[in-house]
Symmetry: C2
Subunit: 365 residues, 2 copies
DNA sequence: TTGTAAGCGTTATCAG
DNA sequence: CTGATAACGCTTACAA
């Protein structure tokens, strides 16, 4: 008795393209003179639609500029075509590149990426989690800062959601994880400085409560052990990844009774701080103190002296995390490991004491 | 006759917190022994709810770990609490910082940010627009690359949506826009090199079909005109913002009959390319050729010679764009201009010929 | 092959 | 102040 009203949009059929309301499936069905079900099937490329009908519907959709509402779809599916990404600082080149990689992979499968920048605050990490939970994201790529993940566990208990940790391991919960091979990287850097003949090698570490920071320290210790050198805790200064932190910790090491002749630094930003400290003290690099660090950057070959650094593949890291999300969501992708550990490559320049060349470009795209 | 079934969730009341389905308003209402309508009012802090009832509802919500579904809300409102951001390269420090600024402002108002990276391809810009349109984003922050915005206009005709352009003007359509003062910046750089006594100043420009590239060229020309110097088109080489482009265009300028004695470069990345070219040719900087560029970077003080550059406030740019979105959405925010032109400040270092100091830090946070 | 109708969670309208 | 109910756009059993 009311089938006419049902197929016809409340505000009348769409005739002009300048209507103030996005076209809906009802509009399309009406224009193509079919039922909504048929229109839906045609749009989604399902079987059991005659070629004629399909063409008709697609033409109508085209004409009306129809864009299926992801909101309605997600609402019905109880899950949005959306993946959240929570990072401590999206303006950091590492996370920005990782985001790019993730977004590249995900957008190809029709997902969009919701970014949340926690500004390094656990409080904001919790807020972000709530926000994304409310959005019913299908998956979450998380670069954890807070070590307390009670609320994360709580959320996941009620919300089935693909989860991949990046950069740091998520302790206390088996989770797909993508990170760089921090232990091996630190071994490589330290071993390289050992090859230059250094025996008193310092380490400006990252934040040690983060697994990446801890792992880098472990690698440094392993390399020393491999060379039969006793570990001296006085040669380790805990930084906070930042340039200012690197500066401060470098000063601390320089002010010890017996300063190192070489330093392994856990980030290039801290290396910059260190170089500034050394410059201030008029200590020649690599002459009096050699330096090698993590996290190569585009400017590493240009500074004085050019930085010997480990190159990480941030884009690949984000892309790998996204792939893992897709795997968990059952999308079509190759099966992958539980913990991806991406290798890093040493880019030898001059700060370590080598005669590094002047290379025009540094990081692979 | 069925009110019992309606207030009680289909799968039975929620008792344990480990249910496999997020709590809904129905669950909360049931637990608080009120109607869904009342529960909704209580949750949303609306009037006409007794304090007792409200407390009861909030307690139930808390217990059940209730997170209102943004999907359902958005679906009902025909608009998500979401703002899209389309940029050509999110791993570029400028866009990354702008994203951070935007996300900071928007998340404080309960919005989340959907990022799309177009990888500089107009095709992907169109796809991103479709994706975000489907998501029924409330607003869109767009850093345009494609000059053809026909489809954008088409989309906007049917979808009411807050829109703010950043970085480049969106020609042919009055749009809120936030950009840096490109003309003034180029004038400043050029004038500074003029003060050093240079009369033959070249320009490695950005992409001239983008308004930022065009404006920078205009500023360069204006400064020359102000100094009564005739414009010589042979001194302008159109780059593409990239390091490789800067290298190539620098070589081109060097290979002309009468090379410039100073160069204004439209981006720091291109300046790096230029410096590498000059180094390759053994041309001392600033001795034989002085250099000054746009887009200061953290590593600018560390390279050899340290770069004289214009500092842009990317974070502020993103934040301003977000504010404009909020204004358009009628949220509570101060009224703002139609076109924001953020000033840039000249950071004098050594590549221009000044005796720039070694500053420990560069960019303001 | 096509059509009908239920239902996803929320808010708004209207009746009590 | 509170409760019942319709509606938002879409997918999907199920019916034809």
């Amino acid at each position: 008795m009311q089938s006419k009203e049902l197929t016809e949009p409340a505000s009348g059929p769409l005739q002009a393209a300048d209507m103030r309301r996005p076209a809906t499936l009802v509009d399309v069905a009406f224009a193509a003179k079919v039922s909504i079900a048929t229109a839906s099937r045609a749009i989604n490329g399902r079987r059991y639609v005659s070629d004629d009908t399909r063409a008709q519907v697609l033409r109508a959709a085209e004409q009306l500029n129809f864009r299926p509402s992801s909101l309605a779809r997600g609402f019905r599916a109880q899950r949005s075509q959306t993946v959240g990404m929570i990072v401590p600082d999206i303006s950091s080149p590492f996370y920005a590149a990782a985001l790019r990689g993730a977004q590249h992979v995900l957008s190809r499968q029709g997902y969009t990426v919701l970014v949340c920048d926690t500004e390094e605050q656990p409080q904001r990490e919790r807020e972000a989690l709530d926000l994304l939970t409310g959005q019913r994201v299908a998956g979450l790529i998380l670069a954890p800062v807070a070590s307390d993940h009670a609320n994360l566990r709580q959320v996941l208990a009620r919300q089935p959601m693909a989860l991949v940790a990046i950069d740091n391991r998520l302790e206390g919960r088996p989770t797909d994880t993508v990170l760089v091979d921090n232990v091996e990287g630190a071994r490589t850097l330290t071993a390289h400085l050992l090859e230059h003949g250094h025996r008193r090698i310092g380490h400006i570490s990252g934040i040690l409560s983060e697994t990446s920071g801890a792992d880098r320290l472990i690698g440094y210790q392993q390399a020393l052990a491999d060379a039969d050198i006793d570990f001296d805790a006085r040669l380790v200064a805990e930084g906070d990844w930042s340039e200012a932190g690197g500066y401060a910790q470098a000063m601390r090491l320089l002010d010890t009774a017996n300063p190192p002749t070489a330093i392994v630094i856990a980030s290039s930003l801290m290396a910059v701080g260190t170089l500034l400290a050394l410059r201030e003290r008029n200590i020649p690099v690599p002459g009096s103190i050699a330096v090698a660090c993590f996290d190569d950057a585009p400017w590493a070959p240009l500074i004085e002296p050019s930085l010997t650094a480990l190159c990480r593949q941030d884009y690949a890291l984000g892309a790998a995390a996204a792939e893992l999300i897709l795997v968990q969501l059952g999308a079509k992708t190759p099966r992958t490991e539980r913990e991806h550990r991406l290798p890093m490559t040493l880019v030898v320049r001059r700060s370590c004491g080598c005669n590094g060349e002047i290379s025009p470009l540094t990081q692979p795209a």
